[in-house]
Structure formats: C-alpha cells, structure tokens
C-alpha cells in the first residue's frame, strides 16, 4: 500500500494573523448565538470550516466585531497580542458570568525575521472545526443565562503597545472562584491558540 503524503501549504505571518482573527470573529458569533446573548432570529447561517456557522445580522454587533477583528489582526502581525477574552456580563448588575479565553503564542522568529512556515490548510481547518464543535456543545455543561446579558472583548497586549484611540485600558473583569473547562487548541505554526472557558459557579451546583 502506497503511503499518503499530506500536502503542506506555506503560511506567512499575515496569513496566520488573518486566520486567527477570522477564527475569533466566527467563534465570537458562535458564542453569542449558543449562549443566547442575542435572539436566535438575529443570526443567519453561513458555511465555514466545513460547518454551518451562525453570523449575527445586527449591524451594531457586526460593525463592532469587524472593527475588533481588524485591530486584532494588526496586533497579531506585530506579535503584540497575548490573549483575547470574550466576557459575558449581566446587563442589570454588570456581574461577569463567563470568560472565553483565547491564549495566543506567537513564534518570535517569524515576527523578527519574516520567515514563513508550512502546514496543511486542511489540518488547520480541522483543528478549528473541533473547537467550533466544542463551543457548540458547551451548552451541555455551562449554566443557563436566565437574565439579559451583554458581552465585551478584552485584549491582553504587550506593555509597549500604543493604545488606539477607539480603545482604552480596562480591568481584567475576573470571576471569583470560577469553574474552568479547557477546550482544544489550533496551531498555524506561527500562532498557537488555546481556548479555555471559565464560568461562575452555579448556585445549584454549589448546593
């Protein structure tokens, strides 16, 4: 039997940044849909990563996520982005209920020297697909969000990053004594993204 060799694609820094920022956009939409932050009817189905993905049609949210992903892509290309956190808070009390943590490890050599790496696009898509499936299945163990919620996105950057005029410094919006669930990760050989969700202990679980 002849052995099958996987064809590898060349990944550049810009390409990897685009992949990661796009992934975050779709992941954020998926989280907002699955956690019920916005009503189901405000989402439309599209095909991405070999899966039916849901994207919001709310113009405000759309523009917010678009501008966000553009800035994240810029920071990823400069290698200054360490982490992205999507925070879900109670609208009434502003209490943080969930934190979706996307940790990013950047290959410094690629940023400094501008070299490229090789990895199969299909492999990357497969890894992202696994994460999206896990996000969709997270509703089985995450506590129900019974009250109206809002979301916000925090970016953990290097200390020497110049703050754009549409961004401000913020507190990390932590959860006291959270429960944590580690999800899969994906690697473009330039950026490695680890996913982790931490959520407030449900009162029923504590009982």
């Amino acid at each position: 039997m002849a052995s099958r060799t996987v064809a590898k694609d060349i990944i550049t820094l810009r390409g990897s940044a685009a992949i990661v920022s796009e992934f975050f956009g779709y992941a954020a939409n998926s989280i907002l849909y699955n956690r019920g932050v916005y009503p189901e009817e405000s989402f439309a189905k599209v095909k991405k990563y070999g899966l039916p993905m849901l994207l919001t049609q709310d113009e405000g949210v759309k523009s917010f996520i678009a501008s966000l992903t553009a800035q994240l892509s810029e920071w990823l290309e400069s290698g200054k982005l360490q982490r992205i956190v999507l925070v879900i808070m109670s609208k009434a009390t502003n209490e943080v209920l969930e934190r979706w943590n996307f940790s990013i490890e950047t290959d410094g050599e690629v940023v400094e020297k501008g070299v490229s790496r090789e990895k199969s696009d299909k492999e990357i898509m497969r890894e992202i697909q696994a994460i999206m499936r896990q996000i969709a299945s997270s509703i089985t163990y995450l506590p129900c969000l019974d009250e109206p919620c809002v979301f916000d996105v925090l970016a953990y950057t290097d200390k020497d990053v110049a703050i754009p005029f549409t961004w401000i410094e913020s507190d990390p919006k932590l959860i006291a004594n959270p429960q944590m669930v580690k999800l899969h990760s994906f690697d473009t050989k330039i950026h490695k993204v680890d996913t982790l969700v931490s959520y407030k202990n449900d009162e029923w679980d504590e009982q």
Partner: protein, 721 residues
Amino acid sequence: MILRTPPPKKQRSETRDPGSLLVASSDLPLVIYEDPPSAAPPPQPSSGEHLLCTYQCRQMVKSDFFDALSCAEKQVDDYQSRSKALEENFSKVEAERKQILDRFLDSEQELAAAKGREQALQEQLLKEVNDFQERFKKQIQSQSELEVKLRNEMNLRLKADASKASAEEKASIFERKLSNLSESIEKEKKRLHNEIELLERDSKLSVSRKSADLERMECRAINAEEESGLLKEQLEDLKKQLTECMHQKSEVEKKLSSFTFQEASSTDSNILVKHLQEELRNYESEVREARKLRSSRENIELLKEKLSEEKGRRERAEGELSKLHEFQMSMKKLEDELSSWKLMIKEIPGVSCSEDIPVKFAALQKEVIDCMMKEGDANARLKQMEVALDAVQSGKHIAETEAAFAKEKAEESKSEVKRIEVMLSMITEERDKLRDLVNEFKRLKNDEAGDETVSGTLIQELESSLAKKESCIKGLESSLHEQKKVNTRQSEEIKLLNERLNNEARRIKSLERESDRLRSEISLLESKLGHGDYSSANTKVLRMVNTLAVDNEAKQTIEALQNELQKTKEKLQAVEELRSQSGNAGKLVDSYISGKVVQLKEQIATLEKREERYKTVFADRISVFRRACCELFGYKIVMDEHQRANGIPVTRFTLQSIYAQGDDEKLEFEYESGNTIILANDYTSQPEISHQVDIFIRKLNSIPAFTANLTVESFNRRTLS
C-alpha cells in the same frame, strides 16, 4: 566365548615329557604313556613300536585316562558353570550397560535441556542486562538533568534563605520600630490622658467659676434691679422736683427780671436770690444725680444683658459638660481600640506608622502568598518523592523477585549439575566394577585357551565403550565446570545489577516527584490563565470604547445631534447664501424681505377670505340641513358643547318638537363617543313621558322610536285640540 576346538596336538616324537598330561581327543590316536628312559638312549623304534603296550600299562593308562577324563569333565563342568555364571554376569553387565546407556542418554538429554535453559537464561539475562543498561543510561541522563535542576533549586533555596534572612532582619527592624511606635503611642496616650485630666479640671474650674460668677451676677442683677427700682422712684421724684424747680426758676427769673428794674437794695431779695441759687445748685446736683441714676440704669440694663449672656454661657457649659462625659466615653472606646490595634500591630511586624500598615499588609500578604506557593511546591515535591520512592520500591521488589527467580534457576541448574556429577560418579563406579569383572573374567578365560580370544574381544569392546564413556564423562565434567564459572559470573552480575537497580529506583522516584511538581505547576498556571491573571509589568488589558454596552439613547442622541448639526449647517449655508446675495447693500435684503412679507400677507388675505367663504357656505349648508332635519323628523335640534364636572367635553343636543305646545317641551340628549344618553328635565319627568322613556329607551333601547312616538302623540294632541 570359550572355543570348543582345542589347539592342535603336539607329536610325541618331538617332545616327551614325563609329566605331561594326555588330552583325550576322539580324532587323535591313543598314545600310551611310558616311563621316560632315564639314561638309556631311546631305541630306534619302528613304526609300530610306539603302539605297543603292556596290559598293565593299558590298565594304568586307562585308569589314569579315566581319572583325567573325570577331572577334565569336572573341569569342563566347572568351566561350563563358570561360563554360565560369566554369561549371567555378562548379561547382567549388558543389562546394566543398557541401563547406564539409557541413563547416559537421559543425562545427555537433561544436559542438553539444561544447556538450553542455561542459554535461555543467558539470553534473558543478556536482555535484562541490556534493558538495565538502557535504563541506566536514561537514568544517568535524567540524573544529570536532575542534578542541574537540583543545583538550580539549591541556588533558589539559597536565594530564598537569603531573602528569608533579609526579611527576618527587616521584620526585626520593623519590630523595633513598632516597639518604638508603641512606646511613643503610650507616651502620647499618657500625655493625652494628662491633657484630658487637665482639661477636665479646667473645665470643672471654669464651670464652678462661671456658676459662681453667675450667682454673683444674679445677686448683682437682683440688687441692681432693686436699686434701679429705687432709683426709678427717686428719679421720678427728682423729675417732679426738677419740674417744680424749673417752674420756680422760671418764676424766679421772671421775678428777678422784674426785680432788676427796682434799684432798691434789700437784703431779703439777696437772701432770696441766694436761696434760689442754692436751690438751683441743689436742683442741678439732683439733676446730676438723676443723670447718674439714668446711667446706672443703663448699666443695669447692660448688666442684665450680660447676665442673660452668662446664663446662656452657663447653659452651653452645662451642655458641654454633658458632651464632655460623652467625649470621655468615646475616649475610652478609642483607647480600647488603640490598645487592640496596638496588639494587632505588635502581632504584625514591619509597621512604623499607620500609613505603613496597609503597605506592609500588602507586602506581607504577598510574602504569605509566596511562602504558601513555596510550601505548596515543597509539599508537591515531597509527594512526588514519596510516589517515586514507592514506584522504585515496587520496581526494586520486581527486580529482586526476578533476581531470586534467576538465582533459583541457577540453583536448579547447579542441582542438575550435581545430579549429573552424581550420575557420573555412579557411572564411574559401575565402570570400575565392570573393569574388575572384566579383569577377573580375563583371568578365568586365560585358563581356558579356547575361549580366551572370545573374552578378549569382549573385553576390548567393553574397554572401548568404557573409554568412550570416560571421554563423555570428561566432556560433561568440563561443561559442568564451565557452567559453574558462568553461574558465578551471572551471580556477580546480578549483584551489580541489583545495586544499580537500587540507585536507579531512587532516581526514578526523584524524577517522578519532579514530574508531579511540574504537573502541579502546570495546573496552577492553567488555573491562573483561566482565572485571567496577568503580569502588569508585561501586559495591559484593553477594551474598545464604543462597546455595545453603551445605551441606544446615546446613539440616538448622537444621531439627533448629527441631524441638528446638519440642519444648522443647512441654515448656515442659507444664511451665508443670503449674505452672499446681499453682499454690498442692505437695501436689496430689505426689498427682498419686504417683497416676501407682501407676498405672505397676500397669501394670508386670500386664506382668510377662503376661510370666511367656507364658513358662510358651511353655515348655509348646515342651516339647510337643520331645517330639512326639522321638517323630516319633526324636531328642532340645537347642538351645544358642554363640559362635565370632571372636565370632559360633551356634545349636548336639545330637541324641540314642532308639534310642542310649549317651550318647556324639550328633550335633552348628551352624545359622547357614539353613545347618546337622554337627560332628565321637567318635561321628561312627567309621568307620560317618563313612561315612554322607560319603555322605548331603557327597555327597547331605541331613541328614534321614542322620538317618533312622541311626535305622533304630540301631533295627535295638536290635531285633536
């Protein structure tokens, strides 16, 4: 086998022995014995002379022959019995030899099996040795890594010890400072106590003084009041006297003035003048006293005011006294709190002043957290050590069991070797026995010439087989010896391996401890990561300003402001256009504006005309409509707008039938949002009309029927009348 064929007989002519025996033979002719001639030379016999014998010789020979025969027969029987015995022995020996051969073959098989087992054992041992060597190499590598880590940890530990020592020094310094602080606090406390006592005393003294002053002032006030009363009376008297004196003075002056014209000098007038002057002086003195009284009265009033002020101050002082008690209580509480805080501060080292407390608390908290972390790490390492120890002990047990198993196998092989040696010794003994038997058999067979050759060949064969066995036995002995050497070497190697196992077991434990520690560190870091902790020295957290958490009202206000901005921009543009159009003179603007005003006025006039026209047309039309309604339905309808008590506007219709006999016959209805209600009045309260109202409106709910019925009745009445 004894040969039956005897050897060929020697001829007599050749040899003659006097004592030679005769061997009976069936084939050979009979040879008669003759005494050997002692000295006589043998006669030259003829061919038949030797066959000649005397009768005695024949009988003697015969008897001798028979004796010899019997002896020979006996010997033959003996030899036969011996041969039988030998044959039996030979068969036995053969059987034994077969047994020995079988045993030999078994022993060879066992030897081969033992060799195979030894080879297998050797292979196993070689494999184990190779495994151990590989593990040893790996563990040497891990040991080197661990040594490096150990050195790093030792350095860290030294650093931690140094930091601990410095922290202890700092703690001692801070304790000293704290003791100084506590002393200063005590001193201040004492000072404050003394000051408080002094203040209390002062306050008491001042209170007592004030009370005394108050009393004095009260007494003074009372006295002053009494004096003022007396003085008032005096003043009034004096005033009266003053008026009288003034009156008298005026009279006297008049008199004096009249007296001045008279030049008559009389002593009485002089005396009277003097009296009057004295009275004047008295009166002036009384006036002065009255003024003094007045001033004293004013002073009294001032004193009264001061008294009231003092009373107020007294009340305030009493209130402050009560407050002083409260302050004392609060002071006591504060002192208790101070003492408790002092105790707390004593317990917490490293505090010089109150401002340092939170900073030191934060630093101590950080140190506590670090120490807890280190303690957790140490505990984790301890657990790792214990776990690795247990694992290596189990490995050691396994290795010991394997070594014991190998030892048992070696012992088994040794026992087998011993068994083989024993068998060899037995075989050699049997071989010796066989050799003895063979030698005996040889000796026996030497007597019997016919069987000697047969026994010799048998003996040779036996000797050859024996020689082969001896060679085999020697080979076995040599193999045994070699095996013993191999066994000793293997036991020594096993001992070395056991020692190495023990060392490697220890290294494995330390490795496992290290791995558990690293796992705990990883879990701790992951928990920190999941919690969201970060290093503020390297990282900052940013968020977008224009988040979706902003209310939509802000967006709406922004949009509204933008719209207003656009409108103002448009207005501004229009104004600027106007200004640009009116560039030079204001006259053009005025004319333009006046033209616009005229146009607007004309429009207004036309609109007003239209409105009036519409009103007249409407009035005409509505009057026609009303007249038509009146003639068609028989009622004059008047519509008015009224307001109810609650302020709600309501349309009121007043209907008067054309057949009504009086102006009082009016029906009043109220219309509101599609509902028409009949109102009560004098006309509807009449029994006939009310009866109809009940039937048609209230029961049948039909106002047209009621009005129609009323019209018919009033028509009938009219026509009848």
